[in-house]
């Protein structure tokens, strides 16, 4: 009874954290592929359709029966290929959905205290957030940036793009546009951060908090939440653009694997890093005598 309960709760927890289970699922998916077929790798898919090994050579005599056999064989092979392509497509969709689910967390009912969690999820170590995160997850422009650097480093990916040069140009344009969108969101976020002291009424020396203070906090957080949703939409769009619009199936799969791989790597070493560093600390006596020596430098330059 209790065992069953435990199992159920395990199940539930793994379902509720799609981002954590990504790697496992990916690993499993790879295994499945190997089981199903030895011909699966994408290069061979192309080869097979072009030069069939059993195709009759010119000048060779062959009987009608052999031809029929060959045709049947060809039919079976292409049917199998079609199934494989379909299953690859399904897997890509599944993986994409997983990311979409992760990116649309903010669409779920969000309590005021959840806003901080969306911005700085505790499941991600601080270093992971510092390296990759903007408003809680990947920068949309970084998703395309990763794609762009993958093209440059991987010749197979580059050569498979029909118009590599044009694509590269289109991606640069997209990155540029996304950065503008990010800057707009940054600007709005900054407006909230710069004015919170005026909008949240602490300045009056009131001893006990009243309802209006909390209302004010919540209304500011509502604005932040709106920006998080905006950011998540850009993120989802960026990923969909790469996977669905720019890349063909096999390359999309390759990209998703790399995308997930980087996240996993960063997550791992950030976790190790945090374990190694421990909580951040300062010297017990931090020499307040030297405080103030260096003030007035940077602003002075501009004023």
């Amino acid at each position: 009874m209790t065992e069953k309960k435990q199992k159920d709760s395990k199940k539930a927890s793994s379902q509720s954290k799609p981002c954590l289970s990504n790697q496992d699922c990916r690993g499993k998916a790879v295994l499945d592929d190997e089981d199903e077929s030895e011909n699966f790798p994408t290069e061979q898919i192309r080869c097979l359709t072009l030069h069939q090994q059993n195709s009759p050579k010119l000048g060779e005599s062959f009987s009608w029966k052999r031809y029929k056999l060959w045709k049947q064989d060809k039919y079976h092979r292409s049917a199998r290929l079609e199934r494989q392509l379909k299953s690859l497509e399904d897997r890509i969709d599944k993986q994409l959905k997983r990311f979409q689910a992760q990116y649309s967390r903010a669409m779920n009912p969000t309590r005021p205290k959840d806003v901080a969690e969306l911005l700085m999820p505790r499941s991600s170590p601080p270093l992971e957030l510092a390296t990759l995160s903007w408003l809680g997850d990947w920068r949309p422009s970084s998703i395309l940036g990763l794609f762009s650097s993958l093209i440059r480093s991987s010749p197979t990916l580059a050569s498979s793009l029909s118009h590599a040069g044009a694509t590269q140009k289109a991606i640069s344009q997209l990155i540029h546009d996304l950065r503008i969108e990010e800057a707009v969101i940054d600007e709005e976020m900054m407006e909230i951060q710069a004015n919170c002291i005026l909008r949240i009424p602490f300045s009056i020396a009131n001893e006990k908090p009243n309802g209006s203070t909390l209302d004010q906090v919540n209304s500011e957080l509502k604005k932040v939440h709106r920006l998080i949703v905006k950011a998540q939409n850009f993120r989802t769009n960026a990923l969909e653009t790469v996977v669905k619009k720019i890349l063909c199936q096999s390359d999309a799969a390759e990209f998703l694997v790399a995308f997930d791989g980087i996240q996993e790597t960063v997550h791992q070493f950030s976790r190790d890093y945090k374990m190694r560093k421990g909580p951040v600390s300062v010297p017990l006596i931090s020499g307040s005598e030297i405080v103030g020596v260096d003030s007035g430098y940077s602003l002075g330059k501009f004023l």
Binding site: T110, V115, A130, N195, V280, G292
Partner: protein, 285 residues
């Protein structure tokens, strides 16, 4: 300087979380009440010198915080950028690069001036003083920055005779607004530059790892180094803006400014409010 300091004290560290808790507690239970006490007395009987001394103490309290924030950032910048350990869920969304946004300081100051601007227009204009300020401002504008600072003692004498605390924002408002304009112009250059640096550091990381140039760990170390610089520059900006404001305002203005700032920091950590906040179930979307 930081290195030589840490060499002197190789042992004896405490978690930044504890440091910040104590810092806030000192602000809440010692500095803020004393400041308020002197503010309420200064207008009538007690000497403004006491107030000015306490403004300095409070200012120093802020400076020492930023000094420690720098030390902490050089230990592990990621925990300062994402301070989930020492800041609560109500504060976190309002933080920029690990602490208050520098615009917040100038905005707070502006709000005092604006508040007063309204009531000022209703009253009779204080021509004499305004003219005096304006001239002084004109004379000093070309001169060295340091000389533009107000002699705290001098202005106190002046204030003691003529101005109660509640009128603090009437005085030298033109000179002050010019100065805030300058500070804000500086910030408008430097804040976006810092944001860009942070963005480029992250983009650089993805690019390096994506292209396989270096391992993720090496790329992260490089990015971390850049982030330490960014956070320290942001801290310097915050510290400088506070110092500029304290130096350019009169002692009463500085006292009101620091009081407002301290009250915000203390208020957003208020236990009861936080409890209400945490138990708030109604979704905001």
């Amino acid at each position: 300087m930081i290195k030589s300091l840490s060499r002197k004290k190789p042992t004896g560290r405490r978690r930044f979380r504890d440091y910040y808790a104590i810092w806030i507690e000192t602000l809440k239970t010692i500095h803020l009440p004393i400041l308020r006490h002197h503010m309420s007395c200064a207008t009538s009987t007690s000497s403004p010198n006491l107030l000015s001394a306490h403004v300095e103490i409070l200012h120093h309290h802020f400076k020492s915080y930023y000094h420690n924030l720098d030390l902490a950032a050089s230990t592990d910048v990621s925990q300062i950028l994402f301070p989930v350990e020492h800041r609560n869920a109500m504060e976190l969304p309002f933080l920029w690069l690990g602490d208050l946004h520098p615009y917040l300081f100038t905005n707070l100051l502006r709000s005092y001036l604006l508040q007063h601007d309204d009531s000022f227009s209703l009253q009779e204009p204080e021509n004499e003083d305004e003219e005096y300020d304006y001239q002084e401002h004109q004379e000093q504008e070309i001169e060295e920055e340091d000389e533009e600072e107000i002699e705290v003692g001098e202005s106190c004498e002046f204030l003691k005779k003529q101005w109660p605390l509640m009128n603090a924002w009437k005085i030298q408002s033109r000179k002050l607004t010019t100065r805030i304009d300058q500070i804000e112009r500086g910030l408008r250059l430097m804040v976006p530059a810092l944001m860009n640096r942070a963005r480029r550091a992250q983009a650089g990381f993805v690019q390096k790892v994506g292209s396989g140039e270096v391992s993720a760990a090496v790329a992260a170390a490089e990015m971390e180094e850049e982030m330490v610089g960014i956070v320290m520059d942001a801290n310097r900006l915050r510290k400088d803006v506070i110092s500029e404001i304290v130096s350019v305002t009169t002692v009463y203005q500085a006292a009101l400014f620091l009081e407002g700032l301290a009250q915000f920091l203390v208020g957003i950590r208020d236990g009861k409010l936080l409890q209400e906040f945490r138990s708030c179930k109604s979704p905001i979307n």
